[in-house]
């Protein structure tokens, strides 16, 4: 879409502070934008930039060379792919001269379009607008299927003009404040109300006309269409001088693993009785399932986490409530600190299960050395440092379980570097088993398993963690 001669109007990188700024400015505090711990359990594994923040930023750039007051006549925007916190994105504008009334702009992330926008302006004679600078903060609503099908209501409008003038002065100077309040209200609607907690904003299409001076300062909305098979909503919008629609999706909820009550019924063996197991990355997903299986089989378990302290404590509590033994420790495989490592070593493991994994994003093709190195830091360097650390601390003999991937045998698009780093980890395990007397290793290539890592907007049949891990942990991974 980019013309060869076209250069980016602006390059952006959104920080944690930017996220919080827009959350306060718009009232959209959806955790996918502002809570790094909750966001790591979503489809994208990290915080996502508010789509409407991109629109506000793009409008500000478009207004840069405009003189006088303008009113938006029509705004169409589509959010094609997420922009993640820390991503470097570029805004391209068709014509920055300010002479054209219709403006097309798009935002790219590593050369790929992630948002596009078409906006039309006309001259405006500004009326005085009396909007509150804030309203009561909404609680992020976990909507039901019934809400998606028949949702409707209204949200009060607000605009903090001083904040806008400081951050986006050209937009504040040129565009009617009521329209800005209406546009940002759509972010609050999607993120906090409908679909609410588990939402993704797909696009906005609105037309503006002259508003009545005494029109109520609110945005009303109603479900126009809900397609359950796509989890996609289309809402009608109405506000003073505004009519239009927006599209939003219901994103998958975090994947939970079975409770101990269920797992203890499946695990009849006490194969790990009187043994000690460390589960690196045991707060959720495969690590959580492994911790529970081992505890059900009699092991005393030490669960480590990086960010999910509450998740890890919930796993340990579930194990203890079923009569098992579990402890929790924060441990960063990339930056291990001495006190935490000493606690790990003092535990004296018979088994170490190494589930430390960053979010696996299957969104690029080809080979990227930096992406490979990123994964290798977790799967190779982190594992090497842990194992050699235990050997140096004379923790005694232990077995290492390395969960690998069948993507090594069948590489899927975007997973090349991940699969390569996992293959490296297998080689490392073989080497360590050969070279170190006190270490034996078990690598197993697992298929895609239902966890936060494999969650998708599309229906996919994948295995469950307990069924995949149970035969391994009660079989090959047992002490030699």
């Amino acid at each position: 879409m980019t013309h060869p001669s076209q250069s980016a109007a602006v390059t952006w990188q959104f920080s944690e502070q930017d996220q919080l700024w827009f959350a306060n400015f718009s009232g959209d505090f959806n955790p996918i934008h502002v809570d790094s711990v909750q966001a790591r359990r979503t489809l994208f594994g990290t915080q996502v930039v508010h789509g409407i923040h991109l629109v506000i930023g793009a409008l500000n750039s478009i207004c840069q060379n405009m003189t006088g007051l303008r009113k938006i006549v029509r705004l169409d925007t589509q959010f094609i792919a997420p922009v993640l916190i820390g991503d470097t994105v570029q805004l391209f504008v068709q014509d920055m001269s300010g002479d054209h009334e219709d403006q097309i702009s798009w935002i790219t992330n590593h050369g790929r379009n992630c948002a596009k926008m078409k906006v039309s302006f006309e001259q405006d004679t500004r009326q005085s607008i009396n909007l509150p600078i804030s309203v009561e903060k909404l609680v992020c609503h976990e909507a039901s299927e019934e809400d998606y099908l028949h949702g409707g209501g209204s949200l009060p409008l607000f605009l903090n003009g001083a904040e806008l003038s400081e951050k986006y002065p050209d937009l504040a100077r040129v565009v009617c404040p009521l329209q800005i309040a209406q546009i940002i209200a759509t972010s609050r609607l999607v993120g906090m109300q409908l679909p609410g907690l588990h939402s993704l904003y797909n696009g906005l299409s609105v037309e503006f006309s002259q508003s009545e001076p005494d029109a109520p300062s609110e945005l009303t909305y109603q479900t126009l269409r809900y397609l359950p098979r796509y989890k996609r909503l289309k809402l009608s919008l109405a506000s003073a001088g505004l009519t239009g629609t927006l599209e939003a999706s219901v994103r998958p909820t975090p994947i939970t693993q079975p409770k101990m009550a269920h797992i203890t019924n499946l695990v009849q063996s006490k194969a790990w009785k009187s043994k000690r197991a460390i589960v690196i990355g045991g707060s959720r997903g495969l690590g959580e399932a492994a911790a529970k299986i081992l505890a059900a089989a009699g092991a005393e378990v030490l669960i480590t986490y990086l960010a999910g302290e509450n998740d890890a404590n919930a796993v340990a509590e579930d194990i203890r409530s079923a009569g098992g033994c579990a402890e929790v420790l924060r441990y960063d495989v990339l930056k291990p600190n001495e006190p935490d490592f000493k606690k790990l070593a003092a535990f004296g493991p018979d088994l170490v299960c190494y589930f430390a994994t960053p979010k696996i994003l299957l969104n690029t093709s080809g080979f990227s050395e930096s992406k490979h190195d990123f994964y290798a830091q977790y799967f190779v360097t982190g594992m090497w440092n842990l194992v050699t650390g235990f050997l140096g601390a004379n923790t005694g003999p232990f077995r290492l379980f390395n969960p690998s991937t069948n993507y090594i045998d069948n590489v899927v698009p975007g997973a090349l570097e991940y699969a390569m780093a996992k293959a490296d980890s297998e080689v490392l395990c073989n080497y360590m088993a050969e070279e170190f007397n006190n270490v034996s290793c078990c690598s197993r290539r697992l298929p895609p398993i239902k966890t936060d890592q494999s969650v998708s907007l599309l229906h996919k049949e994948v295995g469950d963690a307990v069924s995949e891990l149970l035969p391994i942990l009660l079989g090959d991974a047992r002490s030699v």
Binding site: R112, R229, Y230, R232, N363, P413, S456, L458
Partner: protein, 82 residues
């Protein structure tokens, strides 16, 4: 190729933002990077609207290559073929 393939091609071109795209049975998410899960949902909704069809969740997943998509559309009564 028939007219229905042309109509389907236009949807692909629009949603994948590839004005020169040529729809062939081999086209899938491996050969076309832009055909990811996000664009697939947009594509399937557009196909449903344009061809007045409704896909099941399994059909939506199985339609991630052009050959299967056309086959499923034909099975649903659309007069589409290569």
């Amino acid at each position: 190729m028939n007219n229905e393939i042309d109509r389907l091609t236009e949807l692909f071109r629009d949603i994948l933002e590839k004005p020169d795209l040529i729809l062939v049975p081999e086209l899938d998410g491996k050969s076309e990077e832009k055909w990811d899960s996000f664009s697939h949902i947009n594509l399937m909704i557009a196909v449903e609207e344009e061809f007045e069809l409704t896909f099941t969740p399994t059909e939506i997943e199985e339609s991630r290559n052009a050959e299967n998509l056309v086959k499923i559309m034909a099975e649903k009564g659309s007069n589409i073929h290569w």
